[in-house]
């Protein structure tokens, strides 16, 4: 879409960058930015113009511990690997995955790798196939923990379920800008519906 930029568009872009717009209008502007280059350029123009005010934000030293928390979240922390009876569950998961793989042999949309979620003890390949998202994981979570999958859209995390088998298939259609994440949760998953444990890996979907 490369429509001409109307006066209303210019004002929407200005409202968006200035930040005065309510949530629904912000979402509308963000969708336009992704689809319409002329509108995106209008937004960039306002970002450039108003960036002259950035110098008025005073720096505030953040707590020193925050850097470690950010690194844990992005890269994970090397964790002692304790594997016990979880392996059994993992093996039965493998059987389920084999069945699933047989089902997937049915001619279908092409299987395409789109992201990797990797951290110290974690390596998950993410693939898409039509409206399905497929997560292939190399190893089970440490004992008494589960890996939980999340999709973060417009800043809101939504659970995609637990990674309890070598292959987990979830019905979800991605959009550019979505972020996929894996967090370490108590067995059975987050009790709150939001990530409670460290986020071990994230991957942003830039193009599909």
């Amino acid at each position: 879409m490369h429509g001409a930029v109307t006066e209303d568009d210019r004002l929407l872009a200005a409202d968006y960058v200035l930040g005065v717009a309510p949530a629904a209008e912000r979402a509308r502007a963000e969708a336009r930015i992704r689809q319409d280059r002329a509108f995106a350029a209008e937004v960039e123009g306002w970002q450039r113009r108003l960036s002259g005010l950035d110098a008025e934000f005073a720096a505030v030293e953040p707590p020193a511990a925050l850097l470690g928390r950010i690194e844990n979240r992005l890269f994970g922390r090397p964790q002692p690997v304790r594997r016990g009876k979880r392996i059994l569950g993992w093996l039965s998961g493998a059987v389920a995955a084999a069945t699933l793989a047989a089902v997937l042999l049915w001619p279908a949309a092409p299987l395409r790798p789109i992201a990797d979620l990797t951290a110290a003890d974690l390596s998950v390949a993410v693939l898409t196939q039509g409206d399905n998202l497929i997560f292939r994981s190399a190893a089970p979570a440490p004992s008494a923990r589960d890996y939980q999958l999340w999709i973060i859209r417009a800043g809101q995390p939504r659970s995609l379920g637990l990674l309890t088998a070598p292959e987990t298939v979830v019905s979800a259609r991605l959009e550019p800008g979505d972020v996929l994440a894996v967090s370490l949760e108590p067995t059975g998953g987050s009790p709150t519906g939001l990530p409670t444990g460290p986020v071990l890996a994230t991957a942003e979907i830039t193009e599909l």
Binding site: R10, L11, A14, D15, L18, G19, V20, A21, P22, A23, R26, E44, Q47, R48, R49, L50, S51, G52, L53, D54, A55, E56, F57, A58, A59, V60, E61, P62, P63, L66, L67, R69, I70, E71, R73, L74, F75, A154, G155, V179, V199, T202, A203, E204, T206
Partner: protein
């Protein structure tokens, strides 16, 4: 364009260089945390927001394009957007966290401010100075404090639609002044 060391840091981050994240934290986190504190007015939420912003900067580092502006400007856009999303998602405006506000030094002209009072920065200060002071103030508090149409409308006692067109006239004048 001036040499932009932060742009190199983003390039390293895009290649997966974890040490570059520490450089970014040292160079940019205080500014970004200042934005979070000022806009969110809540220290705990500002800490959460900074973590999220740093995560986004890491995952989006490859999208930074030095030809289109400075790395710090780009990081500020991401930080402000995240804070605005949090603010607009709030049901009720949160009361000012006085302790957090007390931690924000006066934004008087620091050496950085003075150094930046050229180019775009100089132009916007000059052009805001030519607007009706109340309009200029509304634009400032929207950009710097994250004030919404609703908040400004309440503060000024002006109906929402009137306020919109009043502020839009200010923005048009600002644009014309900056790009004659």
């Amino acid at each position: 364009m001036d040499h932009d060391p932060l742009a190199e840091t983003f390039a390293r981050m895009a290649r997966g260089d974890r040490a570059a994240l520490r450089v970014l934290y040292a160079e940019a986190a205080p500014k970004l945390f200042g934005i979070c504190i000022r806009m969110l007015r809540d220290r705990t939420e500002a800490e959460d927001a900074l973590q999220e912003i740093m995560t986004r900067l890491w995952t989006r580092a490859s999208r930074f394009d030095p030809a289109r502006g400075s790395a710090m400007t780009w990081a500020v856009v991401i930080a402000r957007n995240h804070c605005l999303d949090r603010l607009r998602a709030r049901r009720d405006p949160v009361a000012r966290d006085e302790a957090a506000m007390a931690a924000v030094p006066d934004a008087g002209p620091s050496p950085e401010t003075l150094a930046l009072r050229r180019g775009e920065a100089r132009r916007i200060v000059d052009c805001l100075g030519q607007l009706d002071p109340q309009r200029a103030q509304a634009i400032r508090s929207a950009y710097l404090d994250g004030e919404s149409y609703e908040g400004i409308s309440r503060a000024l006692g002006v109906p929402l639609n009137t306020l919109r067109s009043w502020l839009h006239r200010g923005l048009k004048a600002l644009r014309e002044c900056m790009e004659p």
